[in-house]
């Protein structure tokens, strides 16, 4: 095959992909690059005739802004409680229990958990708003048990929204872990059982190491999902009261669209992207070792 022919051939082969690449550049890379540029300007939605380049001003403002630091802290709390502790462990637990459960129990649990996952974010938000509000279901139950009631969205907003996110997101982790657990060959577990390893030991020394990759993937995916949760919190608390549940996406929305500071809001979005990448790098390293 001559060089010219091979070139024309690879060109012909690239041709079908070209429209997709053009579209990607146009609709994905374009806006992202534009956003990155805006983060270095003082662009406003309204109240300004012309915007100008301001360098790192927006980032300096962010790190000097108490509300921003508060949002960073709350984002970490929200992510750790709802993704790392909640969804991850609960998903794993459910997947393990379902391995042993009878078929009807398995189907029923699966259906319930997955319903929460399939519901649109806003609907889930309203459901949990109704659950946690002062006249809500949770308080009705507590009242029936003669326990003290309170407006959870007001007294413990970040915990309430974290719980909501666990409720909604557990299904995803459960599916990932169920798939992983099914992959473990039965002989290995049986051999360990014959060797006299108890349940906890089997989990610690066999199951967990064998699904380590799935744990990593799951953690990475749910962390990234959780970092960007907006609708759920917006519907339940709007970030309040007094910013007590204002995570980074809500803070960004407020700055960009309610205070019209598009430039500043975009800078915050970029910082959120950085937080996400840091988490990703951490998980990727975790996955690479010991393989």
């Amino acid at each position: 095959m001559t060089r010219a022919r091979s070139l024309s051939r690879s060109l012909t082969r690239a041709l079908p992909v070209a429209p997709a690449v053009v579209l990607l550049l146009l609709f994905l890379a374009g806006p992202i690059a534009y956003c990155a540029y805006i983060a270095f300007t003082d662009l406003q939605l309204t109240g300004q005739a012309e915007d100008s380049f301001v360098g790192f001003d927006n980032f300096r403002t962010a790190f000097g802004d108490e509300a921003f630091l508060n949002a960073v802290w709350l984002t970490l709390v929200f992510t750790v409680i709802s993704a790392l502790l909640g969804q991850n462990t609960l998903g794993l637990g459910l997947a393990m229990l379902m391995q042993r459960a009878s078929k009807p129990v398995r189907t029923l649990t699966g259906a319930v958990v997955i319903t929460a996952w399939v519901l649109p974010e806003v609907v889930a938000g309203f459901l949990l708003y109704a659950f946690f509000r002062r006249e809500g279901t949770l308080n009705a139950i507590l009242d029936w048990l003669r326990l003290p009631t309170q407006n959870w969205l007001f007294t413990l907003p970040i915990l309430a929204v974290s719980f909501a996110n666990v409720w909604r997101g557990t299904a995803f982790s459960m599916l990932v872990y169920s798939a992983a657990l099914n992959e473990i060959p039965k002989e290995i577990t049986e051999a360990a059982e014959v060797d006299g390893a108890g349940g906890w030991r089997r989990m610690w020394h066999i199951t967990l190491p064998m699904i380590r990759r799935s744990i990593g993937t799951n953690l990475m995916l749910i962390t990234l999902q959780t970092l960007s949760v907006f609708g759920l919190i917006w519907v339940m608390t709007r970030g309040g009261p007094g910013g007590k549940s204002q995570t980074l996406p809500l803070f960004m929305y407020e700055e960009a669209f309610q205070k019209s500071m598009i430039g500043y809001g975009t800078a915050v979005a970029l910082l959120l992207l950085v937080v996400g990448s840091l988490f990703s790098v951490f998980y990727l390293r975790l996955l690479r070792t010991e393989v």
């Binding site: 012909t12 041709l15 079908p16 070209a18 429209p19 997709a20 053009v22 579209l23 146009l26 609709f27 406003q44 939605l45 309204t46 109240g47 300004q48 005739a49 002062r134 407006n151 969205l153 007001f154 709007r238 309040g240 009261p241 007094g242 669209f257 309610q258 205070k259 019209s260």
Partner: protein, 465 residues
Amino acid sequence: MPVRPTAARPARPALPTLLALSLAAAATLTACGSGSGSDPDTIKVSFKQSTDNSIKVMDTYLADIKKQFEKANPGKKVEFVPIKAPDSEYYTKLQQMLRSPKTAPDLVYEDTFLINSDITSGYLKPLDPYLAKWRDWKQFIDTAKEAAKGEDGKTYGIPDGTDTRGLWFSKDIFKKAGLPADWQPKTWNDVLDAARTIKQKAPDVIPLNVYTGKPVGEAATMQTFEMLLYGTTNDGNTDPLYDKSAKKWVAGSQGFKDALTFVETVYEEKLGPDVSDALDPNVMTRVRGEWLPQGKLAIALDGSWLPQDWLPGSGHEWPEWSDELGLAAMPTQNGQAPGKVSMSGGWTWSIPAKAGNPDLAFEFIKTMQTKTNAQKWYVANSGIAVRNDVAKDPSYVNAQPGIKFFTDLVASTHYRPAYPAYPKVSTAVQEAMEGVTTGDMSVEDAAKGYDEELRAAADDQVIEK
């Protein structure tokens, strides 16, 4: 089964077609909604649609105008682009649409609260050339004309009414608490004392509602805070928020702290709704849809437009409201002249700078603002007339109870300093209010926080008083 490389062969002749199709698709996608001016015979009108599905006041009114307009201008069409969102999100959506000629409608409904900000951004078209040729413009009252004027002295919107604010109270609860049915408080303390009495004598109702905090947005700033703040001045004329002569925002004033103290008192002494209810974004709907009609709230500091929700056909009919509720003007802090305070705002119809059919859009405004149509609108949305000929018309004055009371307040009303920094200043006010409402901040700290935010929002154009 592995796919044989030759399998792709038959598709080869189709490739150029495929590519052409994809590019065509990309082109259509990028050009979607190609300009409001694409059709010179159609005008696109954007307005704020109520988030409450049962309330169709605006929709009904506009449908009627559309019919009249299309009949009077054969061949021309009106297309509505309603935006169904709460206030703060409506502004955002609108501003995004105004940025590009592809999405800008021909006519938009603008809150006077943001109009200067949008004028500065170059989103709106000056209407002076049209106004010079429009006879009805002379009928509009001067204060209303000011509301839509830019800092360049040009006019950018036609006001479709204004509003005033005052105290609504339940005569029934007042009777139970032994308070007079013709209650007219003279000072802030009179208001608080009445609330304290109600708390004692009728413990199952909310004595007094004042909006507060970020969840209700501008309502907290205007219906509560400014109604207090503008009552702290000595002469009733100086603007306690913005110094017009110095062109600077006012920081560190005693009046600001006093107004915050009032809010703190209401929530600290539990004279208001439960704090968690007060900071619920839906509290405004509850006040007019639930608390007032069901007799759960004794006094509400609120706007003149409340009855629009209670009119027949509005979805929450409550025709008895005029017998069951009393009206009182909000007093100044210590009863100093002029004795009462009100704030006014309102909305205007404006033509975007990037509109495709501005001339036709102005024709539509003219149809909306004939005397008959304007009057119909004031009555339908419980607005206060900004046209002299309507204000004098007895059929308007007697159309609804309350119209006279709120129209009379226009004499002692104030307009907000709606300069470009105002929306940010307003958010800073709400943050300070929220701080004292939850008890997280002392009045001193909240006021200090406001001063800092103010400096940032106003680019240091601040004066200490």
